[in-house]
Symmetry: C2
């Protein structure tokens, strides 16, 4: 199912005019129309609209030479089949998140989120300046894909629980929706985890299939109405201190693009990364206020023994994966070494500032 359609227009030869040193580089104006399958409901706040925004940027920056048709989850392929669909060329592009593919590509998880790992600033610094992108390219290329970061949710909350958690014992036997490495870490402390597409969380909580669920943060969680089916919102950030949203591109389609359209996609992705991250920051802040003030949501933090147990379990899960999978070992070595360099500056920079701002008495003027 190749949907690419194109139209060759007359090529413009370079007009060599001696008096004017700047010649138009317009060459054969081939146009491209691509399909992008996504893991989000069509127009879902920040994620689905972020896919739309990215598509719009590509269209603008290519001056109309490239059009991307955005498909919501389930329209062409189900939410969790985006990777396979793009690898196979069913669609030219996808919009999703790497850790959804842990079943077929364990190392993918390090590009989304590591429990107790890097922040958004650190993760983006690694991808753009620390060799992260190159490793990501390499492991996705084995699946005929080219990836880019195209957004970020920022730090995610631990999630919605139907019952209050007062100790590690209260976690035993819970059924929890939580993807990625963090889901495995939860399994290690006696929780039973599953990954479900976001659209299935509400009903699963309501019917008792789930006792608890992480989704994203206040903005997206409220959009699915999760506050209506679980009383306690555990805000502790541990599982996803950042979460990369990706676009992946079928490698054959990518290689057929002229270089300037490859530039357009790469830079539209970078611009979209910042646009989505800052949108989440603001909309989460607004939604948090609404959840507490208008819906009476109870905010909670996970007890210390639970956090400590999750930390230890996370380290075990990561070590096990690194020892059994060569790609995971190479990616995590790079990730881990980078984090080691970044931490001292993050601590005297962003972290120290938060502490200082709190100490002097809160809000400015």
């Amino acid at each position: 199912m190749q949907r690419r359609q194109f139209l060759k227009t007359a090529g413009l030869g370079a007009a060599g005019v001696a008096a004017a040193p700047f010649v138009s580089s317009a060459h054969a104006q081939e146009t491209y129309t691509w399909d992008m399958v996504t893991s989000w409901p069509k127009n879902f706040p920040a994620l689905g609209t972020g896919a739309n925004d990215f598509a719009k940027r590509v269209e603008q920056l290519s001056n109309g030479r490239m059009t991307i048709r955005v498909h919501g989850a389930g329209e062409l392929v189900p939410a969790l089949e985006v990777f396979d669909a793009v690898a196979a060329g069913t669609a030219e592009m996808g919009h999703s998140t790497p850790y959804y593919w842990r079943g077929k590509l364990a190392a993918s998880q390090f590009f989304t989120a590591v429990p107790f790992g890097m922040t958004t600033t650190e993760m983006n610094a690694w991808l753009y300046h620390g060799g992260g992108q190159e490793l990501w390219d390499e492991i996705y290329a084995k699946h005929n894909l080219k990836p880019f970061a195209v957004g970020n949710t920022g730090p995610q909350m631990a999630g919605w629980f139907k019952k209050e958690i007062n100790s590690l014992a209260d976690m035993q036997g819970l059924k929890l929706r939580l993807p990625g490495l963090a889901g495995e870490a939860m399994n290690g402390i006696g929780v039973s985890t599953v990954n479900l597409p976001g659209s299935e969380i509400f009903t699963s909580l309501q019917t008792g299939v789930l006792d608890a669920a992480d989704w994203v943060g206040p903005y997206n969680d409220m959009a699915f109405g999760l506050h209506q089916v679980a009383d306690y919102y555990y805000t502790t950030v541990w599982n996803e201190p950042t979460a990369t949203v990706e676009t992946m591109i079928n490698l054959d389609a990518w290689n057929e693009l002229p270089e300037d359209l490859q530039d357009v996609i790469r830079e539209a992705a970078r611009a979209s990364n910042l646009a989505m991250f800052t949108e989440f920051a603001y909309r989460n802040a607004q939604a948090l206020e609404t959840l507490v003030d208008e819906h009476g949501v109870q905010l909670r933090e996970l007890p210390e023994d639970v956090i400590q147990a999750l930390y230890e379990s996370s380290q075990t899960v990561i070590q096990r994966q690194v020892e059994s999978d060569d790609d995971s070992r190479r990616v995590y070595e790079s990730y881990s070494a980078f984090q080691q360099v970044m931490r001292p500056f993050s601590d005297i920079g962003e972290y120290a500032y938060f502490k200082g701002r709190e100490q002097v008495g809160g809000q400015s003027a």
Copy 2:
């Protein structure tokens, strides 16, 4: 001194082919060559190279239709005359930072940094999603300029001091290089401040014209060799929890651009914003390690009484400005209301995560 040169090539008519719904939108291919004057030495780490990277992005995304010639500080105009030069059309663009223009436009400072104010995440969220860009457009338009955020240094350190500071008394009479609102706040606690271009800091410290100086952070400070002329590096983040790097464009030149090249500049600026911020994060982390391990730099934090006095002085300075200048009042009302919404989420998100990561025992696996 208008340097714009252009070449009109033959316009491409839309080729209407019934079977192909996607037509090339190529229209008259006018090319543009613009000059960009900057406040940084040519190729200066992250700031000067960031100007180059932005220019390169514009060239790539415009597919060669737009070329930007980057000029270091002093090549066409001095570092601190960028605003006037671009407003007058001496160059089409500038690359600098808004708070350098406080003498002619007090409200500009809120777009760079507010002491004890918003973080980088919060500032970018305000600019992109909270009405900050619209206010910035409005006040710069009065000076015939169109601004965009094109980078960010991230949190800045308090700076280099030749003598140790143990109390508020030690600050009295110090001569300090520090621009913007923070400089005024320092004046309020008995310090004498001045703004100098970065390139003049080293000599001013060496000859005793200055007792102390802020510049940016480890990466840029080391590039100017500031550790060679001052023994103590005060890392306290208070004056610039973030610092926006701007591009400003002569409004007549901007209005002459076709819409697709306006799109290119806007999105190249957004992509450059994230690229520079993450580059600073990583390079600062590396440079911090080098400063401490190889150059034996002494890291210090400002004493609590100094920080408290600076906080109070900052509030006074901001209030005074807001009461005396209508643009400042309007901009700060927006800034301040936005910060009020953002803070609770920043605190349970990014800030809480830093605390949690520290508590569980530092580095991941």
